[in-house]
Amino acid sequence: MNGWLLAAAVLLVAGLAPVLWTMAVGEPRTRLVAQNLSTVLACPVFLLAAQGFGRPSYTDLALVLAMLGPAGTLVYARFLGVLPRSRVVLGTAWTVVPATVLPLCVVAGPGRAMAKLLVIGVLVVAGNTVTSAGTDRHG
């Protein structure tokens, strides 16, 4: 019973399924927040899967998503004209991401793998801090 995959499954069911539900029924502003939240939650799932399957080369996926996720959110913000401030995304970014990256670093041990994990963690947190800070005046 691989604990990492179990954590990934929990993140999937508890995190991404509600995001899909809010995306389906919410109104524009909450849908943009839901889209932002989806990328924040997806990165840890990729990292957990990489560790769960025992394949460090899967972390490239999380690296690319860490970069393109916030970019995707900004694309929507540009066209909706507003970037809503959302504490949910900020809170998730600062809690879930470190909660997954740090144990993985401990397991990976010092070296190139840990450096990569830390870079991915920093990218996710920084990117989503920017997108969740929001712009108050109408874009």
């Binding site: 399957f53 025992g54 394949r55 460090p56 080369s57 899967y58």
Partner: protein, 114 residues
């Protein structure tokens, strides 16, 4: 579980075609076409899966390991990128069609009849 991914691919294909048939906006129709397209990738990749196998990338794997089928992955990988550019071509047609017809509702396009 032995047939769930295949049936899911079939469901995605039919729901995509349903969207195409009942669409009232051509951009929505092109979006439904991408949904139909993704059903082919789900089927392709599901066919290549081998229980207990891992990805056939041997940079961090001993050569004798039990791996899944790389051929379907190669087919799906190129198709996803190419499908995006074909979608772009169809969206370009929609942009110009809006300019010339003034609408993107297929019901209001009345140029070619009979």
């Amino acid at each position: 579980m032995s047939v769930l991914p295949y049936l899911a691919a079939g469901w995605i294909f039919l729901i995509g075609v349903y969207g195409l048939v009942t669409s009232r906006n051509l951009i929505h129709a092109v979006g439904c076409l991408t949904v139909t397209q993704s059903s082919t990738y789900v089927l392709l990749v599901a066919i290549g899966y081998r229980r207990g196998g891992t990805a056939p990338v041997f940079s961090d794997l001993p050569p004798g390991a039990r791996v899944v089928d790389p051929v379907v992955q190669a087919l799906a990988l190129t198709d996803i990128v190419v499908g995006a550019t074909v979608t772009a071509l169809l969206l370009a047609l929609v942009v110009q069609l809006r300019k010339r017809h003034g609408t993107v509702d297929p019901d209001k396009l009345a140029e070619l009849r009979g």
